[in-house]
């Protein structure tokens, strides 16, 4: 029980005190409530008040504080820091929201607002009186990071993490690094070749001794938690003899009699059963499709030195402090018949079309037909109002337009039709859109509900649609090829990844960050971060930005060898617990494990994993589990606080009048106000003059002067000679 509590009730310059009788509340709490100090203050967050609070805590040996002011979302940390500075454990601080949840929504009923505020503050006092001093939990961490996925995001992050001195394990599912960007001949805006970027990153990685790359590898098992994840990585065999003569291997690749489906080229070409994704693919070690070569005993005999069919799958166990997921995306795969896909011969997706372009250096020929007129249909599989993919993939508009520019450059005689829903070439990418229209590309706008219909007509395809740029006129366009601009979707195996690492998946199936603005690369699993397009559609630079910020976060986390985590977590009362396992069942993070405690089976919470969500607490049949800071005592005492009767005198003055005068009767102005008023003593001054005199920032003075003006502490007094600034003077002087 805390018995030396300090209570500060904030006017918020009138935002609160205009409606809630703050002064009356300031007089309401006394020693019998455990309250030693109770004050109403003009601005609780003002520097001067913070200093006064520190002084109060020290002088009066306060053991807990309550500030009734704005929403804790704004100033919780401000006042926790005040507590810390005064040597008080910040968990003994409670903020009561009497602005957003009292004075403002009840500005129509000032008296009731005051009654409610009294209840809220009393609840806060009760809560803080039961508060415990909790220290952050310290965990020692391994300075190693697992990066899953060696696309551009993963490689960039791995390089940065390694440079900062962390051990990095980079795991790539494919046998070669680079991910999707290697499938792009050129990358938009910079015009760089995708493969060159991959090569450059790979070379850079190779200069760093502390990066270990696993290709053909996937995460198999994960246990442990922040600081000490135990991860099993399964590495598939390549079936190639590492010591074989390079020349012989090359010859074998050339002579290999078996062709197989070429995944890298999305089926637009065939590849040999001994292959690399593309000639320069890295690591420079071919892969052998053992299954396909099953019956080729002559060939196998001839090149026996090249093969190593005895190679086995390997499982490696790694211990890492943190994990970065950069698994990227899949391209949306249209359904059979969607815009004629897989039903009409010349309908391809954008990724397929890009492969076709790269494979056609001279003329664009497909199905023995020279392609001259190409129609792009945008937003395929994206921005579905009915379907599951509600989002926009951000990069496909630009990618398509860039492809269209490339087409003209490469094959000259090309007509491109763009059937779009909206063009989203944001930022600098807008230039490409401009170029494309200027080069003579055709743009049409259709609506999702009236999607274009693609039909075969002789050798060409006909697209029928209503063009919203031509007063919805029904139009027909003839093209040799239709390209479906397919957006990004979450990877098929993202469910598996999410199960391994327990990271949540959103409705759109991409991995979820904690907060898109405030914690954009963090997941609810401590120590597991996400970067790049596995989190949602991003272009390359956005992907790299996010994975690098995740890398920076991870580095900061692991740097000191220990991490300190919030003490607001679940705890089990060992005496009461009977190990029924219910809590463990509902915990999505597997934070609860059965342990032996002096011969008794009970539940134990892994502090490093528990998120403090509290989901386990209500399910316990014997009420043996609770969350720190949300104990029964705290919550129930708050409820009692709300219900305690309060006697409030009717305020004598009505709010209208109060607006004019209350500012003048305020007991305490923030220090800056006092200073400003001092400089203006009897003389009118402009804001720059005041700022100069006080050596304060002009913007800050402006802000305060405006507030003082609003609360009638000062008033305008004409313009200066240059008609640039207003003069202000003290009101009632």
């Amino acid at each position: 029980m805390k018995e030396r509590i300090g209570v500060y009730i904030c006017h918020c310059g009138g935002n609160i005190s205009d409606y809630v009788d703050v002064e009356e509340l300031g007089k309401m709490f006394h020693e019998q409530d455990g309250v030693i100090i109770s004050k109403d203050v003009m601005f609780a967050c003002a520097d001067s008040n913070q200093k006064a609070m520190v002084k109060d805590i020290e002088e009066h040996q306060l053991d807990a504080i309550v500030v009734a002011s704005c929403s804790p979302k704004l100033h919780l940390h401000t006042f926790k820091n005040v507590a810390s500075r005064a040597g008080l454990n910040p968990t003994n601080y409670v903020q009561v929201n009497i602005r957003e949840q009292c004075s403002w929504p009840h500005s129509d009923k000032p008296r009731e607002a005051t009654v409610k505020a009294a209840g809220l503050i009393r609840a806060g006092i009760h809560r803080v009186s039961h508060s415990e001093s909790l220290d952050n939990i310290e965990i020692s961490v391994t300075k190693a990071v697992l990066v899953v996925g060696a696309g551009v995001s993963g490689m960039k992050a791995a390089i940065d993490l390694a440079r900062l001195g962390n051990e990095v394990f980079l795991v790539e599912k494919d046998y070669f690094v680079g991910g999707r960007i290697a499938q792009n001949e050129k990358l938009f805006m910079s015009g760089q070749k995708g493969k060159d970027v991959v090569t450059a990153l790979y070379k850079e990685m190779k200069t760093l001794k502390n990066i270990t790359l696993f290709t053909g590898a996937s995460v198999d098992k994960v246990s442990g938690s922040l600081g000490n994840f135990h991860v099993d990585v399964k590495v598939k065999p390549r079936f190639i003899n590492g010591k074989a003569d390079k020349q012989v291997v090359k010859q074998a690749m050339e002579e290999c009699p078996v062709y197989i489906y070429d995944e890298f080229n999305l089926g637009l070409a065939k590849r040999k059963a001994i292959y690399k994704n593309y000639p320069e693919a890295l690591p420079d070690v071919p892969v052998i499709d053992a299954e396909a070569l099953k019956d080729e005993s002559d060939f196998k005999a001839k090149y026996a030195s090249v093969f190593n069919f005895n190679e086995q799958e390997e499982v490696l166990s790694l211990i890492v402090g943190s994990v970065l997921i950069t698994t990227g995306y899949d391209s949306y795969q249209p359904k059979v018949g969607e815009y004629g896909y897989k039903m009409l011969p010349n309908v391809l997706t954008l990724p397929e079309f890009k492969r076709l372009m790269e494979l056609s250096p001279e003329k664009l020929i497909y199905n023995d037909q020279q392609i001259k007129k190409i129609a792009f249909i945008y937003c395929v599989g994206n921005r579905q109002t009915k379907g599951p993919n509600k989002y926009c993939s951000r990069q496909c508009c630009t990618s398509t337009i860039y492809t269209s520019l490339q087409l003209k450059e490469k094959y000259k005689d090309i007509t491109a039709f763009h059937l779009y829903r909206d063009i989203r070439t944001y930022g600098k990418q807008e230039i490409l859109y401009d170029q494309s229209s200027k080069q003579g590309d055709f743009y049409f706008k259709f609506e999702e509900k009236e999607a274009p219909v693609v039909e075969q007509k002789g050798k060409s395809l006909v697209l029928k649609f209503k063009d919203y740029l031509t007063a919805k006129m029904p139009l027909e366009v003839e093209a040799d090829m239709v390209v479906l601009v397919t957006g990004m979707v979450a990877r098929e195996d993202s469910v598996r990844i999410s199960e391994h690492f327990k990271i949540p998946i959103g409705n759109d199936k991409f991995f979820n960050e904690i907060h898109p603005k405030l914690k954009p690369v963090e997941t609810v699993i401590k120590g597991v971060y996400i970067g790049g397009s596995c989190q949602g559609p991003k272009n390359i630079s956005e992907s790299v930005q996010s994975s690098l910020s995740a890398a920076a976060k991870i580095n900061a986390l692991l740097k000191s060898g220990t991490v300190s985590i919030d003490p607001v977590i679940a705890r089990v009362n060992g005496d009461a617990c009977t190990w029924c396992g219910k809590c463990a069942e509902v915990c999505d993070y597997t934070a609860i494990k059965e342990v032996d405690s002096d011969g008794k089976r009970i539940a134990r919470v892994n502090k490093a994993i528990c998120t403090g969500c509290g989901i386990c607490a209500p399910v316990c049949p014997v009420n043996a589990i609770e969350i720190a800071q949300y104990t029964d005592l705290e919550i129930e005492s708050m409820i009692d606080g709300f219900m305690e009767a309060v006697e409030i005198k009717e305020r004598e003055i009505s709010t209208e009048v109060a607006e004019d005068t209350n500012a003048v009767t305020m007991k305490e102005y923030p220090q800056l106000w006092k200073n400003i008023l001092q400089t203006m003593n009897g003389i009118k001054k402009s804001i720059p003059e005041v700022a100069d005199e006080l050596a304060e920032d002009k913007d800050i003075v402006t802000y305060h002067m405006m507030t003082m003006n609003k609360y009638s502490v000062v008033m305008a007094a004409g313009m200066d000679d240059k008609e640039e600034y207003y003069y202000y003077k003290i009101k009632n002087q």
């Binding site: 229209s437 366009v477 003839e478």
Partner: protein
């Protein structure tokens, strides 16, 4: 269903259109145009039709004629698609479509062809002059007959069929229903527009240009009457003589101002001169100037000694009557007036 014709844009470019395919359909041009209305909005729609190559839609439209080329839209276009310039090109293209001989189109598209035509006509005049032994009296008399015959036959065989074709594209083919009596009621509009070009007044800040245009048309038409029907060059009546002087002077002054504008290229409208524009204004300047000189020479009684001046005048006149009037920019004046007339017909029911 209208089929998109990607080839059309290239065709229209030959008539002088700019980079109109850069248009991204923002609609600023239409919003800024002071002649465009909610019911009858342009130029964006015309740009769209041109981009898509919807020829029938363009042919059925009178909108290109409603634009008086103030250039405001081109100045406001964020994509520098020059919508005003496109409207101008569409007028040229339409003129070529209306013209059953097809000559207009050829002359618009090819400068070489235009120049050849001018040279041929020039040669013809010289051959004729030499055949009469450069005798002034014969030249003047035949010249006068030529004027009358040319006016008659050009009107009858070229201009009239072309107007009928225009009617067919705009009203006949799209099956617009027009009651017969409207054709008479609307005649008033035809004449008002022909003589006053009053729609110009709707353009912002253009009162002066309208005024210039107005007196030019009046001057031109009256000079035509004065020379052809009042036989200015042979007239003895002082009033007719002075009238002719004044008219040719007006034409000369106004057209010289137009020429200077085109050279200075300050105003949006004067920035993009096509050969056909030059032929038209220069033709007018010369017509006014040489006519003026011929009459001056007559009055000073020195024409006998200087019959070359009449020869030059005749050359200009023949070029004008055989090329510029039937196949050149002159027809704009006529189609524009008829467009107003047909617009009235279209809304009359």
């Amino acid at each position: 269903m209208a089929l998109v014709n990607p080839e059309f844009a290239a065709e229209i470019t030959k008539y002088g259109a700019g980079d109109f395919k850069a248009c991204f359909n923002c609609g600023n041009c239409t919003a800024t145009c002071s002649l465009s209305t909610t019911e009858n909005s342009f130029p964006r729609e015309m740009i769209r039709y041109s981009t898509l190559g919807l020829e029938d839609h363009i042919k059925a439209s009178l909108k290109p004629w409603e634009c008086y080329y103030c250039g405001e839209c081109s100045a406001q276009c964020p994509r520098q698609a020059k919508p005003g310039e496109l409207m101008m090109s569409l007028r040229r293209w339409l003129t070529a479509q209306y013209d059953w001989t097809g000559l207009s189109g050829l002359l618009y598209k090819s400068l070489t062809l235009s120049l050849t035509a001018f040279v041929l006509v020039l040669a013809g005049v010289i051959v004729f002059a030499s055949s009469v032994g450069f005798e002034l009296e014969k030249m003047v008399r035949i010249g006068h007959y030529f004027e009358m015959i040319a006016i008659g036959s050009v009107s009858l065989f070229i201009l009239l069929p072309n107007i009928i074709r225009m009617w067919w594209f705009v009203i006949g083919k799209p099956k617009v229903k027009v009651p017969i009596k409207s054709y008479f009621i609307a005649l008033g509009d035809l004449f008002v527009h022909m003589f006053t070009q009053k729609r110009y007044l709707g353009c912002d800040d253009n009162q002066f240009r309208w005024f210039e245009h107005f007196i030019l048309v009046i001057g031109y038409l009256t000079l035509l009457i004065t020379t052809v029907f009042l036989d200015w060059f042979s007239a003895t009546n002082l009033f007719i003589i002075v009238l002719g002087y004044m008219e040719s002077l007006v034409i000369f002054v106004v057209t010289v101002d137009f020429v200077l504008d085109r050279i200075k290229k300050k105003k949006e409208v004067s920035k993009n001169s096509q050969p056909s524009d030059w032929f038209f204004v220069v033709g007018l300047v010369l017509l006014g100037f040489t006519g003026f000189l011929v009459r001056l020479f007559i009055d000073f009684k020195i024409l006998e000694q200087n019959s070359w001046i009449y020869l030059i005048h005749l050359m200009v006149l023949v070029q004008w009557a055989l090329i510029i009037v039937p196949f050149g920019k002159w027809t704009h004046f006529m189609y524009r007036s008829f467009a107003m007339y047909m617009a009235k017909l279209k809304v009359s029911f």
